[in-house]
Amino acid sequence: MYKFILPFRYMFKKRISYLALLTVVLCVFIVVVVMTVMAGLVEDFKQKNHSFVGDCVLGTESLVGFGYYEDFMRELASREFVQSVTPVIRSYGLINVKGSRQSRGVEIIGIEPVGYSRTTGFGEDVYYHRRDVANVFVPSYNPELPGCVPGIDLVLERNSRGEYSPPDSPWRLGLAISSFPLTPKGALSKAGLGLVNTRTFYYSDHSRSGLATIDSSAVFLPFDESQKLCGMDRPIKRTSFLYIKFQEGTGLSEGCGKVRSMWSKYVSAGSGRPAGYLLETVAVQSWKQNRRSFIAAMEKEQTIMTMMFILVGITTVFIVFVVFYMIVSHKSKDIGIFKSVGASGGDILQIYSIFAFFVGFLGSVFGSLFGWLFLRYINDIEAWLYGRFGFQLWDRSIYAIGEIPNRLESGLLLVIMASAIFACLLGAYLPSRKGSKLRPVQTLQVNQL
């Protein structure tokens, strides 16, 4: 019992204990806040990437695309584990606001809006047609005109708070989009002055996916129109990708494995067809594999951040070590007293370990509590700082993020708390061990022989 009473008294009677406690509180607070924000940003980014392509991507990075996709789509759609499947053309072109002399490169994304919305989060990304996505390519000012859905940053300005001010309805804006049509063999299908296909589309809605590359340089077009524009409508109809969404409960690797196996059989069965060689270029990937190049950078940043916090942890261990070394040195007389009344070295080790546990436990509880409070009001604090001093953590006119993520993950919190307690036990171990090895006569009778 004294092993609990004494550490508890040491905790609240010694000023130096408060120093150790404060160190742990600060470290836990910083780690909780930064890891939560960082993990939130990474998770949000992953979610947006997942939402952009569905669960599984079957396709090719070749701009030529691949044919015979319609039969395979039907076959996929008939399977129980598939919820929806949609073809997507992805190619590159030039965009020119009608009347201006400036052109810029864009990514052309050809979609069937209803199927694409079922498979991805597109239906939630558009602004004017959120409840009527079937008509997303129908401009409200003239339904006869061919519509397009540019990324939001192509048509609207973002202010420093990350907000846009879209008009009540899309304004009449003609966008001339040019593409270089390719033959199935990859050669330019046209020559001379007619080298490119150009067609004017009209702004019918805009998309805000939250992915900077898509929102600032992609334009969604009707599938058939983009097929023609990119020369993928003949001699056989081609697409770049099939995006697939699995039924709930289907595991990602399980679903992708099934699609891969189906595709392999489909390719074998259809060998010898005209331009059948294009099917060989097709790969089946999960959304994570498909978006790896984008996600990997964020994950790497998160890893670097974690490494930095390991350094913070090491610093904490060292500070706790120093504090406990001082406490043990200061309390060596107490150790002598304990031993003189029969306490063992193990008992001494336990007393200081329990003391370290108290420091770690209380430090992690208070650090987490302050972290939680700070995260709860982090957006309000940032808004206040911006209003008062013009300071913004992330300039929303540059970074495509909305609110700072502040959802505290209980799993992450438990890991941080356990790490803090472990760091305290580790930091206190050597001084405690030194204390436990002290001979009582060294501490009780220093002045007498």
């Binding site: 004294y2 007293i337 003189s340 009344v341 306490a343 009582p440």
Partner: protein, 235 residues
Amino acid sequence: MKKDGVILNCGKLFKSYRMGTTKIEVLRGVDLELERGGFTAIVGSSGSGKSTLLHILGGLDKPDEGAVEFEGRKLNDFGGRELDKFRNKKVGFIFQFYHLLDELSILENVFLPAMISVGFWGWISGRRVLKKRAGALLEQVGLGHRITHKPFQLSGGERQRAAIARALMNKPEIVLADEPTGNLDSATGNDILGVFQKLHKAGQTILMVTHDERIARKASRIVKLQDGKIKDEGG
């Protein structure tokens, strides 16, 4: 080496310390026997080795040569755990500077040896009885009204009385007192010696070391330690 009625004895005890390159021989072949129920005082000047001898007899330190026997068993043969138990149950230490724990109340200081002795669950089940005994011991040394006080709130004499109560908590076979009045004025010192004499009358074995012969005369047996050896004995 063992005799009937002898509770603690030692033979040919040697102990030296190093101070830099100098070797200081503190004990140079000490032989001593303590009878059960006796009140013995070891007298010697400062640096004569009396505290070192007391620590070795109480298992707080080890001799370079020689052996200490307690009830016929050599302390050298005791394992670490056994030696801890010996200090906890068989011996009660009283120090010149009281050595009470500042974080604990006087009552808590007194029942600390019992807490160590009975362990966590033993304390949970038997704490009322043990607290009662600690309270009774404090009453016995005249501190019944000070049980909730912290050591720093007590005078030197009161602290030493508390230390005596702590030493008696586990009903030890022998009380080892190291200059128990060395830090007290003469009146308070006499009070403490009065307590010792009462304990002796009640049958408690006591070994006290002091540099003051007047204090030593209160004991039933006096042993003089000079230059690391027992010089003569008186009674």
